[in-house]
């Protein structure tokens, strides 16, 4: 009995609860009290507090602490609702967010398609432009020498080439420049040729790099086209939810709870940090939004002052937006850790599930697919189970 009670008390002091629920409650409630104290006159409130006897102070502090803990406990139970709301899953309140979610999804689909086009199907055309120029500017040192003034003129023209003009325009200008190789010695034009080639190579490298980063961004910021969510946070969560399925054909949401059993304690502690940060930021974003709405509704009844309540509400909305950005950053970190967990510990899980160690990657995918079928749908072919060593 006493052990259970102590266990409950210890639960309150866990880092998860302290940072993700208690700390936001400790910030939110005093902020609300302070706002209304300022509205009715902080001087009087302060004088009233000062008039408390030591015993009254003790009792009031104890009661306030208890109220904060209760409030923290309530917001702790609402954590998943907060996550649903900010990740674009929830139609709260009363389906009033429905059109915003649809608009958000359309916008995110547009972003997804643009990234996919650039990353998967986009390719640098500067390589082709370089080949085109190399074919046109044929080296011939028997031609007449290039006057030095002409050399500087050509270098200036090369300097004026910029990639934003597009490959076709650049090709036209390169074609015009290549005409000089028909008139002057290739030996004298070496510097000009080298400058053009280097410029085109740099552009090619830059564009290729951008396409690669777009592909990586597509993988890190989005799940798949059908799972696109209305918010950035929702898509980042979807991206790491789908990582295991897309790489290993494992159902991440199903296997995550099983995987935690085999993850080392040190690694679990590393995963815990961004998760706590994500929960804290989600709670703060939600409470800041609630604060803004609350003061805008109750405020005028205390004091009809649109500057005071307007500015305070604006601060509340800004704080909410700031913490939403923190959520996105924390979700990216958490996503990296979850991906790493699947990469590092999936084979230990395979062993823990009494499946044989796969000899190849394709065999591993096949085994995960079989097991996912069994766990998710309850339908699976007969599969091999690890032989127990005597």
């Amino acid at each position: 009995m006493i052990d259970t009670l102590l266990g409950k008390v210890a639960g309150f002091l866990e880092k998860d609860f302290l940072f993700a629920s208690f700390l936001p409650a400790l910030i939110f409630l005093p902020a609300l009290v302070l706002t209304f104290a300022i509205a009715v006159g902080i001087r009087g409130v302060w004088a009233w507090i000062e008039s408390w006897s030591a015993m009254e102070k003790g009792v009031i502090i104890a009661v306030s602490a208890f109220a904060v803990v209760i409030f923290a406990y309530v917001i702790s139970s609402l954590r998943s609702s907060f996550a649903h709301f900010w990740s674009g899953h929830s139609n709260f309140p009363l389906y009033l967010t429905w059109p915003f979610l649809r608009l958000g999804e359309r916008y995110q689909r547009w972003r997804y398609t643009r990234l996919r086009e650039r990353g998967r199907f986009g390719r640098s055309e500067w390589d082709a432009a370089l080949k085109f120029f190399e074919q046109k500017a044929t080296y011939d040192k028997t031609k007449r020498p290039l006057p030095i003034i002409m050399k500087w003129y050509l270098l200036l023209r090369v300097g004026l080439l910029y990639k934003e003009a597009g490959t076709e325009t650049v090709k036209e200008r390169l074609s015009s420049l290549a005409g000089y190789w028909q008139q002057y010695s290739g030996e004298d034009l070496t510097d000009v040729f080298r400058t053009i080639k280097q410029k085109l190579l740099d552009w090619h490298q830059e564009t290729t790099m951008r396409h690669q980063s777009d592909t990586a961004a597509l993988d890190r910021r989005f799940g798949s086209y059908p799972t696109i969510k209305a918010t950035k946070l929702g898509n980042i969560i979807a991206s790491y939810d789908q990582y295991a399925a897309s790489r290993y054909k494992m159902e991440a949401q199903i296997f995550w709870s099983r995987l935690q059993k085999v993850i080392s304690t040190e690694f679990l502690a590393l995963i815990r940090e961004p998760r706590i940060l994500l929960d804290f930021a989600l709670t703060m974003a939600s409470l800041s939004l609630f604060y803004s709405f609350l003061i805008l509704i109750i405020g005028p009844w205390l004091w009809f002052n649109y500057w005071l309540w307007g500015i305070l509400a604006l601060i509340g909305f800004s704080v909410s937006f700031f913490f939403y950005k923190v959520c996105v950053s924390a979700a990216i970190q958490l996503g990296e850790m979850i991906r790493a967990s699947f990469d590092l510990f999936r084979l230990q899980l395979m062993t823990a599930l009494e499946r044989p160690h796969p000899p190849t990657f394709l065999k591993e995918q096949e085994q995960w697919e079989e097991f996912s079928q069994l766990v998710v749908y309850g339908t699976a072919k007969d599969f091999k189970i690890l032989e127990r060593k005597p």
Partner: protein, 213 residues
């Protein structure tokens, strides 16, 4: 152009979004509109202020026992006392009812003077136990405590007074000696000769009439 195209492609969602936004913000708009429609709410402000805990008589020195705080709507321009500490120790300059808002003009740092050129305000020290029932406005006589005989009381009609006795202006508790209380009485100039007597010996106040009687 692209924004316009985007708008028309999603007209249904945009229109629904605007309607939903209006519904979400309607409690805020309704709240402000209701306040705006009520002049008493709009022109006032909820304030932490001090009120009389019990009926207060002019000249009474305010203590923690007779003032209290409350949150009340105060109209713009109306004075109020923002904390009880600002009221305690001051004297009421008018009679106040229970729950009445204390305003700076109702309080004074000094005993409200009720004397004119025909009279003077004189402090008399009496024992606390004898001053327990005294209230400003009462008319008093003084009895020599040791001799139990000597009675000092101005007669009605003497000086400017129309009633017998000295009028009690205020009562001040001594911060040094808890057993003594200083009462301030109004003495007409024709009775100033009696002051010499009041300055010596122990005097006990005798209530002749209470205010309003």
């Amino acid at each position: 152009m692209r924004i316009l195209r985007l708008f028309f492609a999603n007209t249904f969602y945009f229109v629904t979004a605007i309607i939903c936004l209006a519904i979400v913000f309607s409690p805020i708009v309704a709240s402000w509109w209701l306040v705006y429609a009520r002049a008493d709410v709009k022109d006032g402000r909820m304030q932490w202020c001090v009120v009389a805990k019990r009926p207060l008589i002019k000249g009474l020195k305010l203590t923690e026992q007779n003032v209290d705080w409350t949150i009340r709507r105060v109209r713009k321009g109306d004075g109020f006392i923002p904390d009880t500490q600002s009221a305690i120790g001051k004297y009421a300059t008018i009679d106040l009812n229970e729950g009445e808002l204390l305003k700076p003009e109702y309080l004074s740092e000094f005993v409200p003077a009720k004397t004119d050129e025909t009279s003077a305000a004189i402090p008399v020290e009496v024992k606390s136990e004898h001053a327990a029932t005294l209230k400003p406005g009462m008319r008093l006589a003084f009895v020599q405590e040791q001799e139990k005989k000597s009675v000092m009381v101005p007669e009605a009609g003497s000086g400017q007074t129309t009633a017998s006795g000295f009028e009690l202006i205020s009562i001040t508790t001594s911060s040094k000696d808890a057993s003594a209380v200083t009462i301030i009485i109004s003495v007409s100039k024709s009775d100033l000769a009696k002051l010499q007597g009041l300055a010596v010996g122990q005097w006990r106040p005798v209530i002749l009439t209470s205010p309003g009687k």
